[in-house]
């Protein structure tokens, strides 16, 4: 139906001589989405009226010289609208429907998980929409606030440009939940970013001989900001002795990684986690 009307209106525009004088058809320059609007016509007699817009098409009979009422329901979608009034000739006019005031907004924050102390690591973007889900292109002010625990890390007011407001900032110093709030008038949206410990720092091991080898373990593993490296992080222990090498990939449990290595001779034990190396431990041969 919508397609037929579009074709009909297009044919009419091509076939009918369009005079299009402004005094014959007066349309508003712009209308707020969802608001009623009126179009003034001149002359007398019956005419056919067409309304074509984003997702809308209507054909109706109107009396020339009377105002044509456009209901707010027809003008929900922001964008360009075309009106045609046809008798023997057609007159046309256009107007623009702009988004209403913001009623909601989409808020995206990236990433969901970030190591602490990383520059420009957290970004967020907000898109305000009116009640009809039109992107609000008129500049509005969005306030972004980042808090970790009770501590405010970042607060910034940003005017939207072409319907978008965004921020970018460094992650905090402490592992834990980072709350990111975007607010616009009485609207707000909340997102959470998990700040996690960075790479281990000052990885140190201690060891002791046990009857069947060596028991080595790390001291509590922290990153350079003092955050505890999460459990499950793999720590690789390597024990090198004269007749071979032994390695164990052990996960950190309760802050400490521990491994049992079979070695009886003089042994050098080293430790690494990812691309970070720790200290070396030299152990004498088993007496």
């Amino acid at each position: 139906m919508h397609r037929l009307l579009l074709i009909g209106a297009a044919l009419c525009l091509v076939a009918c001589p369009v005079t299009g004088e402004a005094q014959d058809l007066r349309v508003p320059a712009s209308v707020i989405a969802g608001d009623d609007a009126t179009i003034s016509t001149a002359g007398s007699g019956k005419a056919t009226f067409y309304l074509l817009g984003p997702g809308v098409s209507r054909k109706s009979e109107v009396n020339l010289g009377e105002e044509i009422r456009l209901r707010g329901q027809e003008l929900r979608n922001a964008g360009d609208y075309l009106v045609l009034v046809c008798t023997e000739t057609c007159h046309s006019g256009t107007f623009y429907v702009i988004a209403a005031k913001p009623a909601s907004f989409a808020f995206l924050v990236h990433p969901s998980r970030v190591p602490v102390g990383l520059g420009d690591a957290v970004s967020g973007v907000a898109f305000p929409f009116d009640q009809f889900h039109n992107l609000v292109l008129a500049p509005v002010t969005v306030t972004f606030q980042l808090t970790a625990g009770d501590k405010s890390l970042f607060s910034k007011q940003v005017r939207t440009q072409n319907g978008v407001a965004w921020f970018r900032t460094a992650s905090g110093k402490s592992a834990g939940l980072l709350q990111v709030v975007a607010s616009l008038d009485d609207l707000s949206a909340k997102r959470a970013v998990q700040q996690v410990a960075s790479d281990p720092c000052n990885l140190r091991i201690t060891g002791q001989r046990i009857p069947n080898g060596i028991l080595v373990q790390t001291e509590p593993v922290h990153d350079c900001a003092g955050n505890v490296v999460p459990d499950g992080t793999i720590v690789t222990f390597s024990a090198t002795e004269a007749n071979g090498k032994s390695t164990v990939d052990a996960p950190i449990k309760q802050g400490i990684a521990r491994a049992q290595i079979e070695a009886s001779g003089a042994t050098v034990v080293s430790v690494a986690s990812g691309v970070v190396m720790g200290n070396e431990l030299r152990m004498e041969a088993k007496p």
């Binding site: 989409a106 808020f107 995206l108 924050v109 990236h110 990433p111 969901s112 998980r113 997102r191 996690v196 410990a197 790479d199 281990p200 999460p230 459990d231 499950g232 992080t233 793999i234 720590v235 690789t236 007749n243 071979g244 090498k245 032994s246 390695t247 164990v248 990939d249 052990a250 996960p251 449990k253 309760q254 491994a259 049992q260 290595i261 079979e262 986690s273 990812g274 691309v275 970070v276």
Partner: protein
């Protein structure tokens, strides 16, 4: 007229079967059933025939008759013998079958012989080869195989405390706006890459690290590009990688491009894909006593023992090794499957072969172990 063709087919089939039997019987040097023509000879008058009898019976799982091929001086029992060949505890061997074998004498006198057998196994992870040496002796007119004492692994009853550590994954609801509440994929990075030519084709290998604090399922892909930027071929690391990487874990990867030479390749595009998956930090498998030695055939082999430090049985272990040159560059990545289960607190040996062309360059190596345990993801 209509019976002529079937008759010809039947005659031709019978003729081929007879021919096949004779041709198989005349084979020298290599014996076994690689061609599917093994025939059991009740009176084994040669060491080759005695060993062949044993292996044919093992292949057919005819255990009682197989034990008649074994010398009475062998220190083994039927149960241990069966378990040695069929595997246990859900190991890779228990899902495998002996597809064929080739044997060759190492040393033969009038009374005893030393034979080396290359066993070809069909397994769920592809064909695997195993080399075993057998000792045979002559008992009267017959040759018999002497089996060493077979150590059936057993573990004493014990309680092993484990601080259970695992990651579960909760998917977000479908109502999220633009997926704004989803959890990001793990951050994984390729830390080294080396492309080389080999006899089989081009190889791309290196190492990849999970830099994140969550486990990742990782796949590494490589695309070979020619001078015009067109794709020559693209492949993935398939099973030459430890797919599930725990936080900060490093895995070797190798991508094979069969029948492609690097001289036609202008550049290589690398791409790693990481997905968030549930995972467990247990079991921990230590790799002990690693050393590179030459085997009896003169090949360089990395030997070691896998030590299961946890309290659960590891059914199938997969060893992946990256070998480095003196500049810490990855010059080779090799892997191997352990066909015996790793019982709790016990060890099993492993061996990974290093190609002759690479062996002189190898200065260091890094072994990682992937594992599969029945009933666990």
């Amino acid at each position: 007229m209509k019976f002529i063709l079937p008759i010809i087919l039947v005659v031709a089939t019978a003729a081929l079967m007879v021919l096949g039997l004779f041709v198989g019987g005349q084979a020298h040097g290599t014996i076994g059933i690689a061609a599917g023509s093994a025939v059991y000879t009740p009176q084994a008058s040669t060491p080759e025939q005695a060993l062949k009898n044993l292996l044919v019976d093992v292949q057919r799982r005819n255990w009682d008759r197989a034990l008649t091929d074994v010398s009475k001086s062998s220190i083994t029992d039927k149960q241990a013998f069966i378990q040695d060949w069929t595997g246990s505890n859900g190991s890779l061997r228990s899902f495998s079958s002996l597809e064929g074998f080739e044997s060759r004498p190492l040393h033969i006198t009038s009374d005893e012989a030393q034979m080396r057998v290359r066993l070809h196994w069909a397994t769920p992870v592809g064909p695997l080869e195993d080399v075993r040496d057998f000792h045979l002796i002559r008992e009267g007119d017959l040759w018999k195989t002497v089996l060493p004492k077979i150590q059936v692994p057993s573990v004493p009853a014990q309680v092993i405390p484990v601080t259970y550590l695992r990651w579960d994954l909760v998917s977000g609801g479908g109502a999220d706006e633009w997926g704004s509440k989803n959890v990001d994929a793990p951050h994984v990075r390729i830390i080294s890459m080396n492309a080389v030519d080999s006899a089989e084709g081009a190889l791309v290998m290196g190492e990849v690290v999970n830099e994140d604090t969550v486990p990742a399922f990782v796949n590494v892909n490589a695309t070979l590009l020619d001078g015009a930027g067109s794709t020559i071929d693209d492949e993935t690391s398939f099973d030459k990688i430890n797919h599930i990487l725990l936080p900060k874990q490093v895995s070797p990867y190798r991508i094979d491009f069969p029948n492609i030479s690097l001289k036609n390749v202008k550049s290589v595009r690398m791409d790693q894909k990481a997905t968030l998956v549930p995972a467990s930090a247990d079991p921990v498998i230590g790799v002990m006593n690693q050393k590179i030695e030459s085997d009896l055939q003169g090949k360089s082999v990395l030997h070691g023992d896998l030590f299961n430090q946890s309290g659960q049985t590891v059914n199938i272990s997969h060893v992946i090794v990256s070998f480095y040159d003196n500049n810490a560059k990855v010059v080779w990545v090799a892997d191997g499957y352990e066909d015996r289960a790793l019982l709790p607190q016990s060890s099993e040996p492993f061996a990974v072969e290093i190609p002759k062309s690479v062996a002189p360059k190898v200065q260091n190596f890094h072994v990682v172990v992937d594992q599969y345990s029945l009933g666990r993801s």
